[in-house]
Symmetry: C2
Subunit: 647 residues, 2 copies
């Protein structure tokens, strides 16, 4: 965290100084706004939290409920999501209250007494250390609370407007706020908004049932599987004809089952199966009891499965163990199928790249996943993270509107891939190795499989924001299009061992990591030349795109990693490009210069060439480009597509 540099901060430094709309944010939902987000689920909240870092844009997020989510919905948090929480500043806090999945147990019918279940395996959850972050279980409501806190502490001082329902929208061809949106008031007071007073005040203008028209530059429909925004732009979810149904319950119980605090897949002789998920707090657990496939139009009966029936079902599957439920915190029949829309915005396929999208959809509104793989909430957050910074850059005048087309291009493909993969995965996981056709397919599949449950499969293809992997050999551990994987480094100014990736907060900035060639800091080298170019050349992205009145590091967070250990040189040896002047007192930031960690050399660990290289990372943590230190023109050109020239 960087603070005090605008003057002493006595209280919680996580509360950022208000700016832009945050200086005088209207408590009531205004008539005009830059962005209107519909829905406070994971997709909407992360987009709002990201946009809250762009206080020059006015973003509102509405929700038809009266207040925050209380209970239920999803609870599985992949390592990629925890990595994302880290960027929003709450990974440690949420981890401290969550259940950590360390291993998983499989229970099958006992071959000797098939009416009983028996434990057959207990593999580790992440045996390969694919991430330094844990795999967590915590209620969706708490995830949303933390995003709410992040928004409230942001320069925008954002808070959801509870009690407003999206009814319809109309995109006009002209006007500064071309999206006309009809809303309906659902509550007379705002309930328990995360950021208290605000939600309530927003209700003061309308009575329940009353309709209102508001105007936005952009609308994001993050309104779940039955999305009204999706309907309004004429898109439909396509895919499975039938749903799969689960009886879900969050309960407190007394049981003799030894693995009640371990994630379990339980199969009984009768074919009944349970997915058991221990929950936060040491006592609560969730059970998904499989209720089978539900054909279209035939769900009514399944939907009426009572909690008693679910408990009874569970007890039959768990035999010889019993589960004596003492308290039901939540239960539901959750029906879902694999489905996806063909585009995630309102631009007709034939007009892509010509027309600026005005309406977007994200999360369950445009793709739904099996509950079994636990992807829903996690993928939805990555949608919102992807779109948030793009809207922020366009609305603050930094980038051309063309940037917005990349959202649907990128995320639709990812959703489709994940769904295809999930189907294959579910089938293959049920198969024995000897049944498979191509033996090497298994190996390939295995490698991909490791990334799937942890949320690291996403790989963006070349576009205006993702370079070609021409120079991938310079940094084999940072595949272009995949998320930037952290590694240890030592900070020169204070000798602190740090995770390089964890310093990249969700502040909407791009990261440029300069990995040095062999010479020492300050000595003549490709790195020194590159740094000189970056700081002084008119072609440097910093000079071209950073507005003159703003701090040098407003758009780009630039860091250098030398091949030497930190104690071999001083920060004052490094080129000026890595010692930016910041804040009203003209102070020098000294925290951007690193040496290698004594126990984990990042160059070796991430396959970085000893010739050095430049790794460009997007605000949502995906590697955008890998370039040689000498290819300054390519770097300049890359950013010239994304950013407008500064005025």
């Amino acid at each position: 965290m960087q603070f005090h540099h605008h003057g002493y901060v006595s209280k919680n430094p996580r509360v950022q100084a208000p700016a832009g709309v945050g200086l005088d944010r209207p408590l009531q939902l205004p008539e005009h706004m830059d962005v209107l987000i519909v829905g406070t689920g994971p997709a909407g909240m992360i987009a709002a939290a990201q946009l809250a870092q762009f206080p020059q844009a006015h973003t509102r997020i509405i929700e038809k409920r009266e207040g925050r989510l209380q209970v239920g919905q999803a609870d599985g948090i992949q390592a990629r999501s925890v990595e994302t929480f880290q960027a929003f500043g709450f990974a440690d806090e949420i981890s401290n209250e969550a259940y950590h999945i360390t291993e998983m147990a499989f229970w099958k019918p006992n071959p000797e007494a098939p009416e009983d279940i028996v434990r057959t395996a207990r593999p580790a959850d992440d045996p390969h250390g694919i991430s330094e972050f844990p795999h967590l279980i915590v209620n969706q409501a708490r995830v949303l609370d933390y995003f709410g806190e992040s928004m409230a502490n942001s320069p925008s001082r954002m808070a959801p407007d509870f009690g407003w329902e999206f009814v319809d929208l109309n995109v006009h061809e002209t006007g500064e706020h071309p999206v006309e949106v009809t809303l309906r008031r659902t509550a007379s007071a705002g309930g328990d908004a995360t950021s208290d007073a605000t939600g309530e005040a927003a209700g003061a203008t309308a009575e329940p049932g009353e309709q209102r028209t508001v105007w936005a530059k952009y609308v994001l429909g993050a309104d779940g599987a039955r999305s009204g925004v999706r309907a309004a732009i004429g898109r439909t979810l396509e895919g499975d004809k039938a749903n799969h149904a689960w009886g879900v319950m969050d309960v407190l119980a007394v049981t003799d089952f030894p693995d009640i605090r371990r994630k379990c897949a339980i199969q009984s002789r009768s074919g009944g199966s349970i997915l058991l998920i221990p929950r936060e707090g040491g006592h609560l657990f969730r059970m998904y009891v499989d209720l089978g496939v539900v054909q279209p139009g035939e769900g009514a009966q399944v939907r009426q499965t009572s909690i008693e029936a679910i408990i009874g079902h569970a007890n039959r599957i768990m035999h010889p163990y019993t589960v004596d439920v003492k308290h039901v915190a939540w239960h539901s029949v959750y029906e879902v199928g694999h489905r996806v829309t063909d585009r995630f915005d309102d631009v007709p396929a034939e007009l892509t790249a010509q027309q600026t999208p005005r309406v977007f959809i994200a999360g369950d509104a445009c793709h739904t996943h099996s509950a079994k793989a636990g992807q829903g909430m996690n993928v939805s957050m990555q949608d919102g993270f992807n779109l948030g910074w793009k809207l922020g850059q366009v609305l603050t005048g930094r980038s051309p509107a063309a940037l917005l087309s990349t959202y649907s291009d990128e995320r639709q493909v990812i959703a489709q891939n994940l769904i295809d993969f999930d189907k294959k995965w579910s089938t293959l996981m049920a198969q024995r190795p000897e049944e498979m056709e191509d033996p090497s397919a298994l190996e390939d599949f295995y490698v991909k499989t490791i990334e799937f449950p942890a949320g690291f499969m996403t790989e963006y293809t070349p576009s205006m924001i993702t370079g070609k992997a021409t120079h991938q050999a310079l940094a084999t551990g940072y595949p272009v299009g995949k998320r930037f994987k952290s590694a240890l480094v030592s900070r020169v100014c204070d000798g602190n061992p740090l995770q390089l990736g964890h310093l990249a907060t969700a502040d909407g900035r791009w990261r440029i990591y300069a990995f040095a060639d062999a010479p020492a800091a300050g000595a003549p080298s490709a790195l020194t030349d590159w740094a000189h170019w970056l700081h002084t050349d008119p072609g440097s992205p910093v000079l071209r795109h950073t507005p003159a009145a703003q701090d040098e590091d407003t758009l780009f967070d630039i860091k250098v990693i030398y091949q030497q250990p930190h104690e071999k040189f001083d920060v004052t040896d490094a080129p000026r490009a890595f010692l930016p002047t910041v804040g009203p007192f003209g102070l020098t930031a000294r925290d951007r210069i690193f040496g290698t960690h004594p126990e984990q050399d990042i160059f070796g660990e991430r396959g970085i060439s000893r010739e050095g290289c430049v790794v460009v990372v997007r605000p949502d943590q995906y590697v955008a480009h890998v370039l040689p230190l000498t290819e300054t023109a390519a770097l300049s050109d890359f950013f010239a597509e994304i950013f407008l020239e500064a005025i």
Copy 2:
């Protein structure tokens, strides 16, 4: 964290359910209370935060300031203090906003150009890994904020009463609330109390200057070096005649000094010296500029040293480097000497053990330390932690009042030792090894020295709450009287690798760790017998002292650590004593049973005998006793001194 077991907790689980006084806590300072704490410094706040976990007692904490501390005072947080913060639930949060000391640099006159300073050494701060916690720098104000949050979230819903000054007190011989205290109102409204509204409301009854009398069972004077409570009980600080003075400043500056983000001891040729402490946030730093010894009555001139003079002084010492100060957040002339009072309560020396203390003093009120060793705030917190649970146990009727005598007995000796040690340390540290008389003395000293700056030197001697070290050989890594050092274990119920010590929260409970002998869980063994005794025998402390209406684990948090890895057995194999029934639904806690960690066997790591043993740990984390599994009578007797029989 254990939650949901009294019903679903939808919001922040750190906010505990209100109980006792917390159900209807008077906003105004009442006329009668159980404990009155004077002063919201580190000593007072930690005592209050600990007492907040005893909601059956009514504790108030007053402060003469209008609101929270804003800036200044201490900032060095020893590892032992971070360990303590962990118990209060905020170690991660405060670490995330703090500066971490990884190494320290020494600057001396350059032998070749003595008017210039040059770096001569850069040792690691904790090369021996004495603690798994870091050494932090963060402003005292933030430490107090976190304790305030802990109090506010406690079952007692405690908040400081700002704007009340202690004037005098009088201890009566009889009455339920024998301490009569005179207070003066210093503020008309409560300022910005950590827990907002409360402080303000407390002011409503009195105008500034108005006096009030209140009555308490016990009073704690945590009112700093000029303590009025100390004066009221007739104690005086004794020790150094003269003070040492430092010009202290927290500033933002532009400098060419390469180590401005590293802790430095800087000595110039002229003899001038600086202690440089980088501060949280990446830019701010503190400098202590040595102003020398001030004889009694001669401080007036030094006290007038201006900030310009301090900055000028600093620049002369730093030559050839310059420090161009752009902003001064705080500055002061801090004068202090090594002093301590002879007792920390109001009982005359000749009446110890006969008379119950009614008034206590803690922190700077009873001992002051050199700024150089950075002990002040840290030692003060350990005072408050030590007293808090003792008052809690006595006031809730669990323990005899005699327990309260141990406070002064324990803490006065520790303070005296620390001060003696600090003097020796400062002298010896300035000496070269070859100048020392006894070469082995250096070695001994070195070992102790390692513990000193990290805060781990404290070792309590035998008393009613510290057993004799007769069986120390059974657990050589847990010296009786020293704090319980954590180690890794694997939790059986979920396979989570955990720091055993970090599970001990500051909830006022005693810990009993049963280290098993070799047989498997459930097999006949000394451990199995011990557990059976603990759960069923009338002599078991659990049965003798736990009130019948309360949960089995109300007083004692009992854990078992087996010698086998966690996957070798199930929680259901362990004896009933380790599977307590908790909460209104009669659920079974399954989180008290551990196996060894695959990479760090706690038995080897902490010198635990393969015969097993029982390690008893106090609520403030100090090892109280080590006993063989077979010595049940000794365990019973030990607790019979501390706890009353349950009714």
